[in-house]
Chain length 206, copies 2
DNA sequence: TTTCAATGCAAGTGACTACTTGCATCACAT
DNA sequence: ATGTGATGCAAGTAGTCACTTGCATTGAAA
């Protein structure tokens, strides 16, 4: 059952939360943004908190359509595409993520709303690397869990902090997912087919 | 010239900022924490903003004593020690960092206060890897800038987010700096002396 | 002792905030 | 036409907040 007023309020709240955080997202602001009367917020949600919590739940667990195949065939390009996609998603949500993290102590429910999304992404990548290990595409002794963490940390940090500290990240920005993916695979001792390896080398020469 | 009232206010403000952010750090709270009268804030600093800005400047650029040598001798252990130290520093500042990042749009000065610290750390690590490259300790073609970014992102993310999403990071926490360092060196194609490599393998078997 | 600077105390100002209340309007279903 | 639910409007409540003002106190220096 769709209710346009509810939806308007939820998306307005989510957007404003990303801009102003919990305290700075006032009920007056939300009402204006959603073009409804302020009292409607309390009629529909009971309180500002309840509205914001539901807004983050709705908009904060947007686990994007996953593109990592179950069976790795061309790891570098698969991983690059997936990384680019994840970074883009995180980037589009960066303000909200920053706010939720910031308010961990005062509103622990906020980052909590995003935990499922984060764990899902982590599990997907971890499985992919495990599968690669089973197929002997990487060093059997490689620390797959650590590489997973490292690649995700790079994507995450790039997504949420590049606009603040641009010099800390690889340039151009569009190449960063490929760069991180290559490094991650390399740290895993990835044995690429000779053809794929030749391609990689040529690209790096240019 | 030291002024105890000023110092008290600055450190109270910095601490409270880490807990409550800009808006949630009220002048009344600061005064109470510092055990001074609220009006003193305006006498000494003119406004809440000015106090908070100076507090973050004072407490937010704590670039810890650097332990990376100019000439790499034992990269894995040097890097591990350095990483552990950086992570510890970041961890101790994590609430403040989260707040400052969160408030980038509304108070861009806050993350700005930390930029020098971040760039300094980045430059140190980058130089270390470059030096390694000059000494032929790593692949001459390795992307040193990318590996720098990747290791720092891992340390950063671990420091500021482990308490929120513990399952995303390597365990035990105390081993994470070593794990990240190993991966980073590996991604750079680090040629460790045979003895050092043997040691590493034994440790992983246990 | 007097003076002066630093700080405390108390009251206040004007603006903001989440939320409530009572009445009115509108659109849809019966 | 009537009834009902959803929403708007307007006013209000009680509390919070950064900041100001006037007077008082304290400690150090001359």
């Amino acid at each position: 059952m769709t209710n346009p007023t509810r939806d308007q309020l939820l998306s307005a709240a989510a957007r404003l939360y990303g801009e102003h955080g919990f305290r700075g997202t006032t009920t007056r602001r939300i009402a204006e943004e959603a073009q409804v009367n302020e009292v409607t917020i309390f009629r529909l949600f009971g309180s500002k908190s309840a509205l914001l919590l539901e807004a983050i739940r709705t908009h904060g667990t947007d686990v994007s359509d996953d593109q990592l195949p179950l069976t790795p065939r061309d790891p570098l390009s698969e991983l690059t595409a997936w990384s680019a996609h994840q970074r883009s998603t995180l980037r589009s949500m960066r303000s909200m993520i920053r706010k939720a993290m910031s308010e961990f102590e005062e509103h622990p429910d906020m980052p909590k709303c995003m935990e499922n999304g984060a764990n899902t992404v982590h599990t997907r990548l971890y499985r992919y690397f495990e599968r690669m290990q089973e197929l002997n595409l990487i060093d059997p002794k490689a620390d797959v869990r650590a590489a997973t963490a490292m690649l995700l940390s790079s994507l995450f940090h790039d997504a949420i902090a590049r606009d603040m500290y641009p010099d800390l990240f690889p340039h151009p920005s569009s190449s960063a997912p490929a760069i991180y993916s290559r490094l991650a695979l390399r740290s895993l001792g990835c044995n690429l087919p000779a053809a794929a390896r030749e391609t990689t080398r040529r690209r790096r020469a240019s």
